[in-house]
């Protein structure tokens, strides 16, 4: 991971005028990006990609696998849910969406990312969470709607640079990887996290692991308190971190990453002295699309779409 992080810092260093370097999509503003996103959703539900405005060499992946336009969810989608969370970055020409798509009448959860070039779609990346025979999007579908924080602009004099926003989001991954509770964790006091529609912070109603939750219950804690426990040490590597969409106006970063669990960590040694056993014996990876709302250098809200992937899965995209 050190290498990836090193490269990432290097990339920022090499592109001091990052705004011009990524301005290819500038002719497509927030509304234009949302319209193109909606056109993809409509095209999926119609099972017909033919009228989509794409570049000739448009690249499309579902769950990291390059596919022909029209394949996978494009062929099986039959409806759209009410939950629609849009993200836009007019500077880099990136748009994204978290929401529910119907597939054979079942709710599936999708994270969608587009890259736009001259008002044409050049890249389409999806993470699709399914549960054959059930509704994987159940928890999201039950939400009243996206957190209003996502749509709120940050006062102009408080806006952070693209580089600082990405650096803050990356600290989330660096803090989780081999988590020891002793890193720098930039969370706001009122921070919360949604994972596949489930609130996994300040939520005593859910439990992790098989230990006695009366003495330690991770999901009942807040964002910062969770990271300060050292409990997430079973996440042995967070790799192929990408931060393709940055919305300076709203303080939003959308990222993609892979959380590898090599399943050799037998117990968590918490900073409070407790030892919590892990039952994890089989290596696995979370393929993750994760959005961060960041204000004044602190993460206030996190929303993620995660699906289980083969351990060590190839990312399918490069930086």
């Amino acid at each position: 991971m050190k290498l990836t992080y090193g490269l990432f810092v290097l990339a920022l260093g090499l592109a001091p005028c990052g705004e011009t370097a990524v301005s290819a999509g500038r002719d497509c503003d927030r509304d234009c990006l949302e319209d193109l996103t909606e056109s993809v959703l409509k095209s999926m539900v119609a099972n017909d990609p033919s009228r989509l405005k794409t570049t000739p060499d448009v690249r499309y992946t579902e769950n990291g696998q390059p596919l022909a336009l029209g394949d996978a969810l494009w062929a099986t989608a039959d409806g759209l849910g009410d939950y629609r969370l849009h993200f836009a970055d007019p500077v880099s020409g990136q748009a994204a969406f978290f929401g529910i798509v119907g597939e054979h009448g079942r709710d599936v959860l999708m994270a969608l990312r587009l890259r736009v070039e001259n008002r044409r779609i050049a890249e389409i990346e999806t993470i699709v969470l399914r549960n054959p025979g059930g509704d994987a999007g159940q928890a999201v579908a039950a939400l009243a709607g996206p957190n209003p924080l996502w749509g709120q602009a940050v006062p102009e004099d408080e806006r952070m640079s693209r580089g600082d926003l990405i650096r803050t989001a990356n600290m989330y991954f660096s803090g989780m990887e081999n988590n020891d509770g002793r890193g720098e964790y930039p969370f706001a006091d009122d921070c919360n996290r949604l994972e596949n529609g489930n609130r996994t912070t300040n939520n005593p109603d859910i439990r992790y692991g098989e230990h006695d939750s009366s003495t330690f219950n991770f999901p009942a804690m807040g964002c910062k308190a969770q990271f300060e426990t050292g409990y997430l040490s079973a996440v042995t590597r967070i790799r192929d971190r990408r931060f393709p969409l940055v919305d300076v106006e709203r303080g939003v970063v959308l990222s993609f990453a892979f959380f590898d669990h090599n399943a050799t960590v037998r117990e968590a040694h918490l900073t409070n002295g407790m030892v919590i056993p892990f039952n994890l014996r089989q290596p696995f990876t979370w393929e993750v699309g994760e959005a961060f709302k960041i204000e004044k250098g602190k993460i206030r809200f996190i929303e993620a779409v995660l699906r289980q992937a083969p351990y060590g899965m190839d990312a399918g995209w490069e930086d």
Partner: protein, 324 residues
């Protein structure tokens, strides 16, 4: 001189059978291959790559993903159960093993393909079907004995024919026909330890809705040929890639790695008699099964089939170059 040497190597590479045809013993014979595979498996369960006979440029994949030796099953394998099928191929310097590995209390059905260069492992490929149920695979004690039987010379097929027959099996699935697929009458298939032919009592370990349960039972009750004639494989959109990697002519075995593609587009399938049955639930969404599969072929007919399948993303590859 360099040029001459290159040309000789090229000739050898292009005509690998020249060496054995000329009576030159292979670089690593059956016993040598088995010894290296045993050493590999011992090192794997000891979580000790240094104890394995590895080439310094060894390439390793698990369930289609390229990884460092030492990672994945190399870090978690605790022990191997006794169940073991071996497919040895001195001509291509490869050996495949099917066995059951335990990670803690959880078993995984494991297929391993090794390629040997200079008596070292230069390619290691794992396909593992992990179970979250400690009692999974408990019924797999001893492999069907025919896998180990050396065939009389007149019951053997050559390499090319063995591959052609196994390939005809996949064509038959894709085209929903038994035509051109030479099944023996006693043919049976195990998939992740479940007998999926001549087994009306097949249970998949979880509850199915009654219509699907009936369809599964009706299909599983049939033999290999009758299943193909029934035409219930529509949920498999394609089988690609097909990599026939390890061939054991003496025992009539073909082992390979195959991508079973389920495009998830249809909730029902039409059988060859015109009746409709529900698509198996797992195949009602786009996904792939990465399949390691061995066929035993005697007198030109398929007798035993055994498969290890891992769930992987829709249309993901095998992690190795496709075959021509």
């Amino acid at each position: 001189m360099n040029k001459t040497r290159t040309m000789i190597w090229m000739a050898l590479a292009m005509f690998p059978s020249l060496t054995s045809a000329a009576g030159v013993p292979p670089e690593c014979d059956r016993q040598c291959l088995a010894g290296i595979a045993d050493a590999y498996m011992r090192a794997l369960t000891a979580n000790d790559p240094a104890a394995a006979p590895l080439d310094q440029n060894v390439r390793f994949t698990e369930n289609g993903q390229e990884l460092m030796i030492g990672d994945a099953l190399w870090g978690t394998a605790d022990r191997l159960r006794d169940y073991r099928i071996r497919i040895a191929d001195p001509e291509s310097r490869q050996i495949a093993i099917i066995g059951i590995v335990e990670e803690g209390s959880l078993p995984g059905l494991l297929a391993v393909r090794l390629k040997i260069s200079g008596r070292k492992v230069s390619e290691a490929e794992h396909v593992i079907a992990r179970s979250s149920n400690p009692s999974a695979y408990a019924k797999l004690k001893t492999p069907r004995s025919a896998f180990a039987r050396v065939l009389p010379k007149d019951a053997r097929s050559d390499r090319k024919t063995l591959v052609r027959i196994a390939n005809a099996y996949f064509d038959g699935i894709e085209n929903d026909t038994a035509q051109g697929v030479p099944f023996s009458k006693d043919c049976n298939r195990l998939e992740n330890g479940l007998q999926t032919t001549n087994n009306p009592n097949l249970t998949l370990g979880h509850d199915l809705d009654p219509r699907e349960a009936e369809a599964v039972s009706n299909a599983a009750a049939l033999g290999c040929r009758a299943q193909f004639e029934r035409g219930g494989f529509d949920f498999i959109s394609e089988i690609t890639p097909r990599r026939f990697a390890v061939v054991d002519e003496e025992r009539g075995l073909v082992f390979g790695i195959f991508g079973f593609v389920h495009d998830g587009r249809h909730m029902t399938m039409t059988l060859s008699d015109g009746s409709k049955v529900p698509t198996p639930t797992f195949a009602t969404v786009p996904n792939n099964v990465l399949m390691a599969e061995v066929f035993r072929i005697e007198n030109g007919r398929i007798h035993e089939i055994e498969a290890v399948g891992a769930n992987v993303p829709y249309r993901s590859g095998t992690g190795w170059p496709d075959q021509d």
